[in-house]
């Protein structure tokens, strides 16, 4: 798993500041935004869809939509990451609705990163445990987990994407992680 600089959590805010929001209106600024966010957007979408091909389509759609709507971005409404993930989430939900993938999502999660022979047994076991615990969550809880850990968003950004208060987002996130931990022990 590549934890590149793009996923250097906690530094996101600084990166957002460093990319002038107005710059997103230009192709060069948007290219920077793409480089910075692509791995996380893809990871989030793939976590939600559990289908590599669909995740690529939706990620592509999301960036294209964001590019075409880049002039509608308003800094006062939140960070570029929150804005971009909002678009990606909408595209993913549209895809889920369109393809009726909900059943697939619930019963047949694709193994998008199977353990390689080099993986240690303990690591593989822990990964399987976590995946099994994830499968016990409902779709909204998995969405929250994906936004936080695959998307790497802050709680404030998650709140922005989901249209709720930051404290509510934090509470729900804490509750979900606790539930996930308990599911790992079962």
């Amino acid at each position: 798993m590549d934890t590149s600089a793009a996923r250097t959590y906690g530094v996101n805010e600084a990166l957002v500041e460093s990319v002038p929001l107005v710059a997103a209106a230009h192709s060069e600024g948007f290219a920077e935004l793409y480089e910075r966010t692509f791995p996380r957007v893809y990871a989030y979408v793939a976590s939600l869809l559990r289908d590599r091909a669909a995740a690529e389509d939706v990620t592509s759609q999301a960036f294209e939509r964001a590019y075409r709507k880049r002039r509608s971005y308003r800094p006062a409404r939140g960070s570029t990451d929150a804005w971009l993930f909002g678009i990606a989430r909408n595209a993913a939900l549209d895809e889920l609705r369109k393809r009726k993938r909900r059943a697939v999502l619930e019963v047949d999660p694709e193994d998008t990163a199977s353990p390689t022979p080099e993986d240690h047994a303990e690591l593989a076991l822990r990964r399987e445990t976590v995946r099994a615990a994830l499968a016990s969550l409902d779709a909204q809880e998995r969405d929250l987990i994906a936004l936080k850990f695959a998307g790497g968003l802050s709680n404030a950004e998650i709140a922005r994407v989901l249209g709720m208060s930051e404290s509510n987002a934090g509470t729900r996130l804490h509750r979900t992680i606790t539930k996930l931990r308990e599911a790992c022990h079962e």
Partner: protein
């Protein structure tokens, strides 16, 4: 809770779970495991998408939307529906007409005449906005001299709760026109009066250059007064209009009651006359009958007079030569130009106000629809996760 969330963020940032509390450390490890398990993209896909980003997401020529398809967007369709509605509403409003049968012949301003402040009734709007075509009509001129306040009631009743009120109405109109049009206007005054079922009681017209002018005393049925005044006002510019009204319902009712009483008395006297046993008694009854018959005749006459005065309004029309106007040429004084400009501005403002009156509610409805649509779309999207 917030401590654990902060600890999770710390672990994600540092890439290690090192909290002293075992439970929190377990959550940190779980967070790291979740992040490590996040799906990774195919490098080929990432490279292809980067290429599209750098090219500005060019659309394949085959998928480009034909230009005419732009006209099939919901926004365009909404505009296509709303715009004609606004136009129809503006046109239907007649560029300044009210629903009281106006012709809207000119400037578009309303000519509300102020009543004299009497206690007989509220100040009422003049029936005829066409009066507003009097270009130089000043406020002072417009102020009607009304002796009793009640002028011209709107259609459908003039005193809520009371029906069949009897109102004597008297209207004075001063029409201003170029001298060379005076003969034509005088002729049209008669024509309009006849058309509305009225008659000319007296008239005098002079078309000489020095003493051009005319006076008409008309009787016009009260029921058709409003359109008649509108047509009269449309004949020329209205310099002034005065309206007076007097409520004679009480006189009418009193006379009617007295007539009924007199008739009842006459019937009673006639019965007593049949039963009279002596000549003296019969003679006394006859004398009384004569008196009562006189009263009945007088009351009938009074009622007839009242009815005539209330069924027909007295309309006085004065024709006046227009000062310094030689017949409607393109020229005119600075004051005229100023007046025309003012009228034009009032007209434009009227159209804008009407357009807003129609457009704002429609806009609000459209906004509401858009908000509802957005909420529905959001709910439908969220249902994918339900």
């Amino acid at each position: 809770m917030s401590d654990q969330l902060a600890a999770i963020d710390d672990a994600l940032e540092a890439g290690a779970a090192d909290h002293h509390d075992p439970l929190t450390r377990e959550l940190q490890e779980l967070a790291l495991a979740l992040r490590a398990d996040a799906p990774e993209a195919d490098p080929d896909f990432q490279r292809r998408l980067r290429g599209r980003v750098e090219a500005g997401f060019p659309k394949p020529a085959s998928s480009r939307r034909p230009r005419w398809r732009r006209f099939t967007t919901p926004a365009f369709a909404t505009g296509l529906v709303v715009l004609p509605l606004v136009l129809i509403a503006v046109v239907a409003s007649g560029g300044g007409q009210s629903d009281q049968g106006d012709t809207g012949g000119g400037g578009g301003g309303s000519a509300t005449l102020e009543s004299g402040g009497g206690d007989a009734g509220p100040a009422l709007e003049t029936p005829d906005r066409a009066l507003g075509k009097a270009g130089g009509l000043g406020t002072a001129d417009r102020a009607a001299s009304s002796a009793h306040g009640d002028v011209l009631p709107p259609d459908g009743g003039f005193a809520p709760g009371q029906r069949n009120r009897k109102i004597e109405r008297s209207i004075g109109l001063e029409l201003e026109m170029p001298v060379d049009q005076m003969a034509r206007v005088a002729e049209q005054v008669t024509t309009v009066t006849n058309r509305h079922g009225g008659f000319v009681l007296s008239s005098s017209v002079s078309t000489g250059e020095e003493s051009a002018g005319g006076d008409f005393e008309l009787r016009i049925p009260s029921a058709g007064l409003r359109p008649a005044l509108r047509d009269l006002a449309a004949l020329a510019d209205v310099r002034t209009q005065t309206q007076t009204g007097r409520d004679v319902t009480r006189e009418h009712v009193t006379a009617k009651d007295r007539l009924q009483a007199a008739r009842a008395e006459r019937r009673s006297l006639l019965r007593r006359l049949e039963l009279a046993t002596t000549d003296e008694e019969a003679e006394a009854i006859r004398r009384r009958l004569d008196i009562v018959a006189g009263e009945i005749n007088g009351l009938r006459s009074q009622l007839r007079g009242l009815r005539l005065r209330t069924d027909y309004a007295v309309v006085t029309v004065s024709l006046l030569p227009k000062d310094g106007d030689s017949g409607g040429g393109a020229g005119g004084s600075f004051d005229d130009a100023l007046g025309d400009a003012g009228d034009l501005l009032v007209g434009v403002a009227g159209v804008i106000v009407r357009a807003l009156a129609v457009g704002l509610p429609l806009g609000l409805i459209a906004l509401l629809g858009w908000l509802v649509g957005r909420a529905v779309r959001r709910r439908q999207r969220e249902s994918a996760l339900a």
